[in-house]
Symmetry: C2
């Protein structure tokens, strides 16, 4: 017995084949299948709805606009960028970084002063930016980043690279990220120069930062600011990861106020208050931090991969082409960030 999943389905398939694979006109298809061209059109529409026809854009720089829209809607973001996830996890990181770079380039209005965090992801963003990506964008570091152990100066290098490539100046914050004693932190903060940088950071038009997971692979352990034990203690306190060096819980709160007080740089509330704060984050290990950030208004623009996006939206992996129906009706997420032309 032929499994007759509705008589028309087979017709729809035949029509789809002739239309998409053979490039025939709906009229021609009508002639072949002995139906009117309008019926062909309807069959095709139906086939598209039912997911029989799958259109995919295969390109490393492709994006998932449906997910972007959903993210923006669900978390009240100004904008979202979602890149398709490659199999490789390293590759994923650089895709996200590339996407963030693209976003910066096409940002309107151009941010004259960009507040910057540091880390592996942001360094990749800097590398992904083309020379001359903008004209005269200055950069200011948001949090301390002098490494105690290896790879000294990557924080500074990131900031200067971004500024240089746009023909601008970088203002660095050449201090440790976390101080051992509160007094030292306050003293440094009080320093005229450091205070000036902090002041400048508050006037930035946009912030660009990443986030780290609350585990021993964190840069803070690498850099020597925290020990594995410190991390474990933070996790016990509910920490899911760090933003600008500050460890937060799933509820978006500071995990350890004492530690936080010793952390130098822009505060969480200042970040939350910013009009444009771009979070670039990808990978499974960062899912919890990412959720904490987007659900508590710490970022206004999210650049991430599709797995993270789905995680944030509560649909883990699978189940995709369902919520993708009402195209083109509601609000339109910009391809480029907010155009200044109406």
């Amino acid at each position: 017995m032929p499994l007759d999943t509705s008589d028309s389905e087979l017709l729809a398939v035949r029509a789809a084949e002739l239309y998409y694979e053979e490039n025939k006109t709906q009229d021609e298809i009508g002639a072949i299948l002995r139906i009117t061209r309008w019926k062909v059109g309807r069959l095709l529409a139906q086939a598209r709805e039912r997911g029989i026809i799958r259109i995919e854009i295969v390109h490393p720089r492709a994006r998932r606009l449906g997910l972007e829209r959903d993210l923006a809607a669900q978390f009240g973001l100004k904008d979202a960028v979602v890149v398709p996830a490659p199999l490789d996890d390293v590759e994923l990181q650089s895709r996200v970084a590339e996407a963030a770079a693209d976003y910066l380039v096409s940002m309107r209005p151009i941010p004259r002063l960009l507040g910057l965090s540091w880390g592996r992801t942001l360094h990749q963003v800097a590398e992904a930016l083309p020379v001359g990506w903008s004209t005269g964008v200055n950069v200011v570091q948001l949090n301390g980043g002098v490494s105690l152990s290896k790879r000294p100066g990557t924080a500074a290098a990131t900031a200067t690279m971004i500024a240089q490539k746009a023909g601008g100046q970088a203002t660095l914050l050449p201090t440790p990220a976390i101080l051992e004693r509160l007094e030292t932190k306050l003293a440094i903060e009080g320093d005229r120069t450091v205070g000036g940088v902090a002041q400048l950071a508050r006037t930035a038009n946009a912030y660009l930062y990443s986030a780290g997971p609350a585990d021993t692979s964190s840069v803070h352990v690498d850099s020597g600011y925290l020990t594995a034990d410190d991390i474990n203690r933070l996790v016990d306190l509910g920490a899911v990861g760090d933003v600008l060096g500050r460890y937060i819980t799933a509820e978006g709160e500071i995990a350890d106020p004492e530690l936080d007080a010793r952390t130098l740089g822009l505060g969480l509330d200042e970040l939350r208050a910013a009009t444009t704060s771009i979070l670039a984050v990808g990978g499974e290990t960062k899912h919890p931090v990412a959720r904490a950030i987007v659900t508590h208004g710490l970022c206004s623009v999210l650049v991430t991969d599709e797995h993270t996006a789905r995680f944030l939206l509560g649909r883990d992996r699978d189940a995709d082409r369902d919520a993708d129906l009402d195209h083109s009706t509601d609000s339109t997420p910009s391809t480029a960030p907010r155009e200044d032309t109406p």
Copy 2:
């Protein structure tokens, strides 16, 4: 550094996203990307050519028209039907059978008398045919099929089922497939009744048959006509599989003339001479026989799966969307078999 695989590629991707995922018009896309709508159209065309936009028809009953065209062209077939290969090998068999059934149903002109072989595949074809698939199609068996051991009567059941479902009569050939002694075979052949069936078979408008691999999984071993040793000997003689019970080599010749002389039913040359001979075959084990058959004109219509199709075309697996460029220009393979209307 941004991997600049041609500047326009990124634009093309963005355009494709907006066009296919967001259902925007090319005009709107032009406005967003700040290019003219004609350029958008060209970018899309380019993206389609380069394979950035992949359109796939996901359906069990879908077909691969590109491969069908290529098969028909390369082997001079009247028609070809290629079904997408599922992961499962059992599933694959029934897909091919379904496709063959579909083909029979939509065949024009309707074959008043259908010559039929037997086997697992053809039985599935019979099952896949809807009741009343045609009006008054008679069936005649092409080769003997009384099983010596298990599953007696499937050969007869296949033929009668197909005939009954079309409201026609089945003429059976109730003899063994292979006789032990040549004299017996000649004697049976000389019998008035059997001779009459053979005579009738020669007048069939179309033949429908399958093929078996030359290994011990063959139905002939199952049925007790041949032993595993016989098969091994045949393989040594160059046999790649059987058609209508006759074992052939890769060159399309009879592998063992002595055995063949003892095989009852339609001869290879008669099959080759037929105007419409439909081969339904799928699965990796049958690749060699399938090749022998199509390269030596033993079938005029091929129904198979996409892996087999690719194997036959000499492009093993991968490497697909290359030879798929010049759509719509040259000869068009019919969706349904040869229409009788012009």
